[in-house]
Symmetry: C2
Subunit: 345 residues, 2 copies
Amino acid sequence: MLVSCPIPKLDFDTINLGHGSGGVLTSQLLDAGVFRLLGNDLLDKKHDGAIFTLQGKVAMSTDTYVVSPLFFEGGNIGDLAINGTVNDLAMCGAAARYLSLAFVLEEGLKMEQFWEILQHIKAASEAAGVQIVTGDTKVVERGKGDKIFINTTGVGEVHQKAAIGMENIKPGDKIVLSGPLARHGITIMSHRQGLQFETTISSDTRPLNKIVLTLINEFGKDIHLLRDPTRGGLATVLNEIAVGAGLGITISQRDIPVEEEVYGACEMLGLDPLYVANEGLFVAIVDASVSDQFLFQLKQWEHGAMACIVGEVTNEHVRQVLMKSNIGGRRVVNMLAGEQLPRIC
Amino acid sequence: MLVSCPIPKLDFDTINLGHGSGGVLTSQLLDAGVFRLLGNDLLDKKHDGAIFTLQGKVAMSTDTYVVSPLFFEGGNIGDLAINGTVNDLAMCGAAARYLSLAFVLEEGLKMEQFWEILQHIKAASEAAGVQIVTGDTKVVERGKGDKIFINTTGVGEVHQKAAIGMENIKPGDKIVLSGPLARHGITIMSHRQGLQFETTISSDTRPLNKIVLTLINEFGKDIHLLRDPTRGGLATVLNEIAVGAGLGITISQRDIPVEEEVYGACEMLGLDPLYVANEGLFVAIVDASVSDQFLFQLKQWEHGAMACIVGEVTNEHVRQVLMKSNIGGRRVVNMLAGEQLPRIC
């Protein structure tokens, strides 16, 4: 169980506007909560910013997390806020090092809930090996927010062997998917619909930095691109790649891993797993010469058992993604149009 | 007039949930708006993060801007979001270089308003000499946000001569304030109260990086600390310094610059200018040996005419701020308690 620290003694049970004033209440909340829990040499300086050094090329990524509900099977907004930004940096070939953490709290948020989220942030930071070094806390009036929104922005050092870029993709490259699709989105959607399944479906939120950096260290420039198929799902990411590289992509439906209960839930909810968000997966475009070896390595990872080569890059049907269906046909897979699942992350 | 680009042709007059989906609508919004307006080599890569290099010590700072109203005399949420983070980095002795930009948009936000804010972001970035290199756009349902919240996180290189830190403050140091107090807070408050003054009071939002870096270049380690008195005002910042340095601070009311109309508005609104937020000021704790010269230089700056030495550091009344009043008495100036002006920035 992650949550163990008792909630600090504060004068209020809920967040009020004074906690965003920059004055005494802000200071009490931060001292008793954030600094006590997340403290480290850099954060403890309590300056307007943190100072550190970074070697070589630096990657920077930002995301604001507005997921609803705040807690769900397999994770919560705190885990997502850390893992999501760590993973975006990993997709740049970078090892996340330092994160900023900024809250927009709604007046009336239960202190207990804020405390629980903070503890998950701490645990997720430790698991990913990153430090939170600077932050911000704002409070908005009741009805002007939704409990809590969290922005994290991360910086990290790009691996020296990394050569990730659309321009490196070429026809014949293989498309590797690190695990089964659609778990995160289906978990959130089931919560909202109040659905129960025989087996528990849980979010796949997790940090990808260790496995990704290990693979970059081994395969270097043969990894041409990395992307995590979050909002918009695999279909949207592959379309972005096809457009960005100015090449075509062909995938095979039969090779795309989807767990049985997730597939069943997708059917029930009328969702196509190709468009459902994931939080712990990545797509790698790798040189065909190393793809089998890359897949073999990936499968050694604790979450890599279902990793698969799902397709390849081609110089035909440029800027389009085509899928060979299970029954032998071929269809165009478009980018997500409209909104399937609002506030998934 | 800053706003000149015509609004791009989009299929919608207002933001809807699809604009946060990560799919087609997100892509259209970003391509037509954000990327077209703010584009640069790094942002144009449209990856999950940006990659660049930074030399030496790096400073990082984050803030989420939730100011209400979005537009006010002298500025708007877009200006604040750039200037505020640039200034936080300047207070670390760093020249802001790269910023991330993350939006939480409320469903129903007028596209025209979003576009206007984007243009102010562009203009403010250019004025401050920073690049927006990565970003995020989320949309929340109507009533779950308030039009627009903006997070910016910045990184920059710390000036080689900078030696800023609480530990460098010593008794005898002079406290320099760069300009007159309370303009930003009074501007926002007047808007909310629907007050009209004979003279227009406008926010002091502006980038401080150029003047601050120039001063650091000249005075180096004789600048012991820099802080911008935003939320909580001058009183709160001085209290943080007294506590952080473990020393006392004495200020003189007579020396603290407040413009006449601002002072009048404070009286009318029942506010103490010491606690009102500023967005374009800084406090410098400087070695007494250079304080006159420092002030002289600061006064050459276009916004420095009213800069003043407002007090000094002492080893008496440790961790407390005392003010000599105009009528000769001395009183303790505490940190802001509770909330004076919610959502000031």
